[in-house]
């Protein structure tokens, strides 16, 4: 029987990392990495930042050169979407079929299928000039449209939306951000940080509308012309950028009968409900990496890489749970936000530094235990908290508020609770 090796569906950060980690672990079986985009695996974060602003070639964003993949006998298939798949019995082997009918057998399977942008549901949402931002092709289109645009409306005040707004503003466009919730980035940061970003964008000339719902998009000759809000406000727009979150791709997992709950459910070793099949990255929900509790979906490069390493270990028959401290960053204008840990479930926070001076951090606590930091232009604070969390240490909330004392000097072992 011919050896089919490992099939990895989804050729982005997580999928590529599984392939690389398998080779690093000494796996010599064939590896096939299939991606539906036409491009070799590349970094996504710059798409809403430097790449969108222009001047960066996609080749510079490649995660690995094609030569590197070839040298390691990692077979990359681009421009092919897997439409259906089935396991032989309970697996691990099985067969996948592309949209074009190509058949790909496998001995082991990894799903790194990612997520798709949530579509705006409003009349006029299908007009030309209404764009999304997930792929390099999306970014290239947006870059083109943006060069000729005057008025940009960003729907969604999360990270992608705000980063795109910052780029548009830097290019001198009139920019309005429309957010349905009562504050920006509400899912990820405390109200004090939301308010900081609202003010920071406003200071730079971006109009921010929270508690705002889009009722419809008006067009002329098939191209968007304006956005109307539920309070009757009419905002002229020749370009609309929609960034209202993503939906994990679970279709293939459901074909295999894998448990899904707002994403493909995996354990700390990136194994799905079928222990033979692994999944990693934006398509998954997993136990909290630091506490092991609950189910969290973490959309970040760090998580994709950490989970992929755990997945590769599981495929190799090893046990290397993903217990890495989550971290994340967002660049808007000259503001560098760095996040370490997960602040969900915090019951207390401490603000440290100067919000007006655009350099500060917010430390988050749950039951007096340090769980996360949001640091804006404060890399020392970010790094200190990340280090503390990595060591299982803490920083007392009362001491952290004094910005004259570096956080690194305040790291102490975690108190053992009674």
């Amino acid at each position: 029987m011919t050896e089919c090796g490992t099939l990895i569906i989804g050729a982005s950060q997580a999928g590529l990392q599984i392939a690389v980690s398998l080779r690093e672990a000494g796996d010599t079986a064939p590896i096939t990495l299939v991606g539906e985009e036409a491009h070799a695996p590349y970094q996504r974060p710059p798409l809403s930042k430097a790449y969108l602003l222009g001047g960066t070639d996609l080749e510079k964003l490649w995660l690995r050169t094609p030569e590197f993949l070839a040298q390691r006998d990692i077979s990359l298939v681009t421009g092919e979407r897997i439409e259906s798949l089935a396991l032989d019995g309970a697996g691990p082997s099985g067969t996948a079929y592309t949209v074009g009918g190509r058949r790909l057998g496998f001995d082991r399977l990894a799903l790194t299928v990612g997520a798709r942008p949530r579509r705006l549901e409003a009349p006029g949402a299908d007009l030309d000039g209404v764009t999304y931002l997930r792929t390099a092709d999306d970014a290239a289109l947006l870059r083109d449209l943006q060069s000729g645009a005057e008025s940009v409306v960003v729907i969604g005040g999360g990270f992608i939306g705000l980063e795109a707004a910052a780029v548009a503003r830097a290019q001198g466009k009139r920019v309005t951000v429309v957010e349905a919730a009562d504050r920006l980035i509400g899912r990820a940061v405390a109200p004090v940080v939301s308010e900081f970003y609202r003010a920071a964008h406003a200071r730079r000339g971006v109009e921010i509308r929270t508690d705002a719902r889009v009722t419809w998009l008006a067009g002329h000759n098939g191209h968007v012309q304006a956005v109307e809000l539920s309070d009757g406000t009419w905002i002229p727009a020749d370009l609309v950028i929609v960034g209202i979150g993503v939906v994990p791709r679970t279709k293939l997992a459901r074909q295999l009968g894998l448990e899904c709950d707002g994403g493909i459910v995996v354990d700390r070793c990136a194994r799905t409900s079928n222990r033979h099949v692994v999944a990693a990255g934006d398509c998954t929900v997993q136990p909290h990496p630091l506490t092991g509790a609950g189910r969290v979906r973490i959309e970040s490069v760090q998580n994709a890489v950490s989970q992929a390493k755990a997945a590769a270990a599981s495929l190799a028959g090893l046990r290397e749970p993903n217990d890495a401290v989550p971290w994340f960053w967002s660049d808007q204008y000259e503001l560098k936000l760095q996040i370490a840990g997960l602040s969900i479930g915090h019951d207390h926070h401490v603000v440290r530094g100067d919000l007006g001076g655009e350099s500060f951090s917010v430390l988050y606590y749950r039951q007096d235990r340090l769980i996360a930091v949001d640091a804006v232009n404060a890399p020392g604070d970010y790094m200190a908290v990340r280090k503390a969390l990595t060591q299982g240490a803490t920083i007392a909330a009362a001491a952290a508020a004094d910005p004259s004392v570096p956080l690194r000097e305040l790291i102490v072992p975690q108190a053992v609770s009674a």
């Binding site: 970094q43 974060p45 510079k60 690995r64 050169t65 390691r72 490069v301 760090q302 960053w329 790094m383």
Partner: protein, 106 residues
């Protein structure tokens, strides 16, 4: 096209082509140089692209900025005078032949 030389722990030299303007980290990661991770893609956020710059090129690459300095202080295992985060070193024609050593751990 300038070249960058990476010396890995076992002493092996990896000579790779680089494009002017890109970072030394990007060159390393794309070519799969062992020991340089660059998880954040060059955003000075992760401190996983630490290298030691060979004396000959120390002046040419300059010194670490404030943000990098903080990350080096807290984020790397064995900081030395010639420690840099390679994502913060831009390749130039003048730096052709730049030689950096990969640390024991990131």
């Amino acid at each position: 096209m300038p070249k960058v030389v990476f010396i890995s722990l076992d002493g092996a030299a990896h000579v790779v082509d680089a494009q002017v303007g890109e970072s030394v980290m990007a060159v390393a990661v794309r070519n799969g140089i062992p020991g340089i991770i660059g998880e954040c893609g060059g955003n000075c956020s992760c401190a996983t692209c630490h290298v030691y710059v060979d004396e000959e090129h120390a002046a040419g690459v300059g010194t670490a900025g404030d943000m990098e300095d903080d990350l080096l202080d807290l984020g790397v295992a064995d900081r030395r005078d010639n420690s840099r985060l390679s994502c913060q070193i831009r390749v130039t024609d003048e730096l052709d032949g730049l030689t950096v050593r990969v640390p024991e751990e990131q």
